[in-house]
Subunit: 142 residues, 2 copies
DNA sequence: TATTGTTATACTCTATAACTATA
DNA sequence: TATAGTTATAGAGTATAACAATA
């Protein structure tokens, strides 16, 4: 039986939600010209670092449902940023890799992400940053 | 000019996003029978603590757009959990308060939230928890 | 049987824009 | 002019359920 909670401000989950909202808002306001969402950048980034990655791998690393992953992959394919490889041994797995356009856009996105991260990180010391990431990882199990 | 970032795992924003996702997932899985979302519980909670609160106040405290607030208030009114007060001096402001049903459901929700929070907090010490909330507040400015 | 990809569907959250009423 | 509420609309993210192909 959990103890009762006095005030809404004591809810850790709320602060996580508000922090997420603040980050998302800043991202949306400053990345409109890129035409990419946070999730889309993450998928491009992973496909760049791991050419031939499959949807299942993306889903696991970004903690998404397969259907959710599909919708993001679709969006990137529609923009010709992501391409499919011809299947290998296991014909169920479809490897994904960046197109030339995808490479170019990811490069721009990484610069933009760096600015975004600087905005976010500016309020913390290096020690606090490391603590913060460790605490967050204990929530999402990364 | 921001420094370049090597790996996706170094992105603080990503960890915040993943942590939010993990919390949201646990909430959804364990609160289906309540029929309330996180946001709806937050609004009920605030209306309980501040009877006569206006939509603008809710929007500010939960960092939502007015239109977003409206949709949540509507959902709660449709379920007869939230009622409107007759306007006072400033006839633009409409005070909100919980109905009897809203009171009852909030009481149940608070217990469920307490369990949810226990699941979340179990992985931290008291000191870590306080640090964590402070770090999160510096992101969302609460 | 289990895994991978796929589609259809639905709901929540979020925001923009334009409108009305009131201050 | 500014604020509060409202409505219409749209997009992103999330998930469930059911299906086909493959292992």
């Amino acid at each position: 039986m959990a103890a009762d909670i006095a005030a809404l401000d004591d809810i850790l989950g709320l602060h996580i939600r508000l922090a997420h909202g603040a980050v998302l808002r800043h991202f949306s306001e400053h990345f409109a010209d890129l035409g990419l969402t946070q999730k889309q950048v993450s998928v491009l980034w992973l496909a760049h670092d791991h050419p031939g990655i499959a949807q299942t791998d993306l889903a696991r690393q970004l903690q998404m449902d397969r259907a959710t992953t599909m919708s993001i992959v679709h969006a990137l394919e529609r923009k010709n940023l992501l391409e499919r490889q011809t299947p290998g041994e296991d014909r169920r797995r479809i490897g994904l890799r960046l197109s030339a356009d995808g490479q170019a856009l990811l490069a721009r996105a990484r610069t933009a992400i760096a600015d975004h991260e600087q905005w976010l990180r500016a309020r913390f010391t290096a020690v606090e940053l490391e603590q913060f990431v460790q605490l967050l990882k204990r929530v999402h199990g990364g």
